[in-house]
């Protein structure tokens, strides 16, 4: 637990330049995380999916408590019960909507009217996008409200409905402009998220401009097919660097000098490992051809392959958490810098009550990402 020098260690009279600090520290262990994810997957399968709420909570509790901010650990106060209740509520809402949409879709299909069918599907996808934006916002709000530091909660203010509308609006604009408005969409949505993120009563502030990332976005998109999508990693590093360097928290200015090499060192080995394992497992199946009789004949080897495939699917989340989540957390902790004086004692709890249940929609729509772990401000 490398205790970084906190403000009092620097004598203020000698140095006019504010001290540069690494505010974030991460002490998690890859094997503990891997084991937690393994246990989660196993129990989730045994319980027909119902354990996942508690499993996700255990994993988050471990990750949160392994991170400290200005020397004090974070605490995750969410519970499996809250996630489960959120799921039940969403289920009660989604089942009727799902039935209406399915039945409607079916009747329109039998009508044979193409215009009606297309407009129905457009409306359907708009609803889906809206729900997606809404779900992302609510999930973030839940996680922030369950993140406690020095007994003070983080919070996400703002309105999920408003964010969902912005989400549809900006991305439709991006589609209509064949992607030229994508930088605008990214920056505006990120600004809404960041500016509504609070610790106690102090909010974060993002001061980003779409024009600053415009050429990089275009370049990334154009080069992607020619660089085996490595340009996406290059852009991701640039985007993280840019947005964090434009993020401030009261008097504190943040920087995150991650580079393409940092991200490549994390993602490329992961992709290689997946490709090697996957090729080793599916090779024999491809060799035998997708024919049930052939598979029966070569019996043992294809049985081994199919078992391997199941194991692969089973262990994929474990590999992902160990090779991606864990290493990204470590990277952010080493790279994140904060400049400016901060009074750790001065944060005051916002009295706004946090919601009692959470995240159901994200779970139902499967928006979670690796084990439902989202990193970042």
């Amino acid at each position: 637990m490398a205790d970084e020098p906190i403000s009092e260690a620097v004598s203020p009279s000698d140095s006019p330049a504010p001290p540069v600090q690494h505010p974030l520290n991460y002490t998690g262990e890859a094997k503990t995380l891997g084991w937690l994810v393994f246990k989660n997957t196993l129990l989730t399968i045994i319980t027909l999916g119902f354990y996942r709420f508690w499993g996700k909570t255990h994993i988050r509790r471990y990750i949160w408590s392994s991170q400290s901010l200005f020397g004090e650990p974070l605490e995750y106060t969410g519970t499996g019960k809250e996630l489960f209740l959120g799921f039940l509520i969403v289920l009660a809402v989604l089942i009727p909507i799902g039935i209406i949409i399915n039945v409607g879709n079916f009747y329109i299909q039998t009508m044979g009217n193409n215009i009606a069918l297309i407009s129905f599907q457009v409306v359907y996808y708009l609803i889906l996008f809206y729900l997606f934006g809404y779900a992302v916002y609510r999930a973030r709000r839940y996680q922030l409200s369950r993140t406690v530091w020095r007994s003070i909660r983080f919070a996400q203010a703002g309105d999920a409905k408003k964010y969902a509308l912005k989400f549809i609006g900006y991305w439709l604009l991006a589609v209509a402009t064949i992607g030229l408005a994508a930088p605008l969409a990214m920056v505006r949505l990120q600004t809404y998220l960041t500016n509504n993120t609070f610790l106690g009563q102090e909010n974060f502030n993002l001061d980003a401009r779409a024009k600053d990332i415009f050429w990089q976005t275009i370049l990334c998109a154009i080069l992607a097919p020619f660089t085996l999508y490595l340009s996406v990693l290059w852009f991701a590093a640039f985007y993280a660097r840019y947005t964090i360097s434009k993020t401030s928290f009261g008097p504190v200015q943040l920087t995150l000098p991650v580079t393409f090499r940092d991200l490549a060192a994390i993602y490329i080995p992961y992709v290689l490992v997946l490709v090697i394992i996957f090729a080793g497992i599916t090779g024999p199946i491809f060799f035998a051809g997708y024919n049930l009789e052939n598979i029966a004949k070569i019996g043992a080897s294809s049985f081994a392959s199919i078992t391997g495939l199941i194991l692969f699917v089973f262990f994929m989340p474990v590999i992902a958490v160990m090779m991606i989540t864990h290493r990204l957390l470590g990277l952010y902790a080493t790279k994140l810098e904060a400049e400016g004086e901060i009074d750790l004692e001065a944060f005051v709890q916002n009295t706004q009550q946090a919601s009692g249940t959470g995240e159901g929609l994200v779970d139902a729509l499967d928006v979670g990402g690796a084990g439902g772990i989202e990193v970042g401000l």
């Binding site: 996942r52 106060t77 519970t79 019960k81 489960f84 289920l91 003070i152 009789e293 699917v313």
Partner: protein, 374 residues
Amino acid sequence: MAIQGWYYDGRSSARHAVTLTLLPGRLDIHGIDDPHLKFAWPVEQLWWAQKPGPSNHARLALQGDNAARLELNDSGFIAAIRQAYPAIDKAGKDKGGRRKLAKIIGISFASIAIAVFAAATILPPFLAPLIPASVERVMGEAAVEQVIDLIGLLEKKKIAICSADDKHPAMERFRQRLANAAGIKGPLTVTVVNAKMINAFAAPGGQIVVFRGLIEFANKPEELAGVMAHEIGHLIHLHPTKGLIRHIGLTGTLDLLLAGGGQGIMGTATGLMLRSAYSRDAEREADDAALQILQRAGIRTNGVVSVFKRFSTELPELPKSLKLFSSHPLSKDRATRLSAQATASGGNAMSAEDWKSIQNMCGTAEERKKKQPT
């Protein structure tokens, strides 16, 4: 026993150095620099906001308040707290949380069970008769297309349609005879497809699909008549429509319940298991209808017995892939029922010429060999 710890009040991030004293039934907290800071936390309302780890760092919180935090770093003190309140390792935010949780889980499992049960048993027979014929037809055509594509994958070729309905006079005569005897409402379509699988199936909207393999397997036309009458029986009882509704309902419900954790496959598997449980009654109903149809058409009913018996005795020697979709398992109980009612009285299913013609619907054996050298 007393140690030093740190206290956060949950209202601000200010850290207060405190003295912690463990007394019988309570934990006393006294501010070191601030004499006004004085609390007594009942031991049995404590819970670990951070369980003691290898570094002996732990964080305590109090039920009912849940916002204030006490940081401590002393293995002896932690052990003393555990001794004073052994249940602390299981305690959480709220009292009786586990019992409440068990109740919630119980209720939700019960409602899920009811939803699955309704989707599988109550809804299909209720909804099936309400579906308009045109919709049923579209559903059925889509289902037939899917199954034929699937068989095509298994047999590694594009499955050709040998003849549909009125384009084949012998099959058309046969179809009319069975349709009239069944008194089936709406159209009855018979499609013969060029696949070696020994099977036939019924689909919503009065559709029957017969595989070439079944025609070859039949020793006499009465056997083919038996299988087709059985499929018409399924149609009379709306089994395919009910099955499709059940499938949509079950996969929809289960996918929604189990999705998200990447366990979509579990939903499908459970759905399959639940679905197969309903096929036994359906087979019995179709058998009874088949016997009636054959009797009314004046066709000997012993063909239906022999063909299903031969399904169960001769099919095991076939390659596995051909048995995969055999949806007519002949249970002992079905066999006895059928044999008890079937008789050798009645006439032929069709003339010898018609039977010959139907046997060659997908081309004669030599023609097929020429087209597809193996």
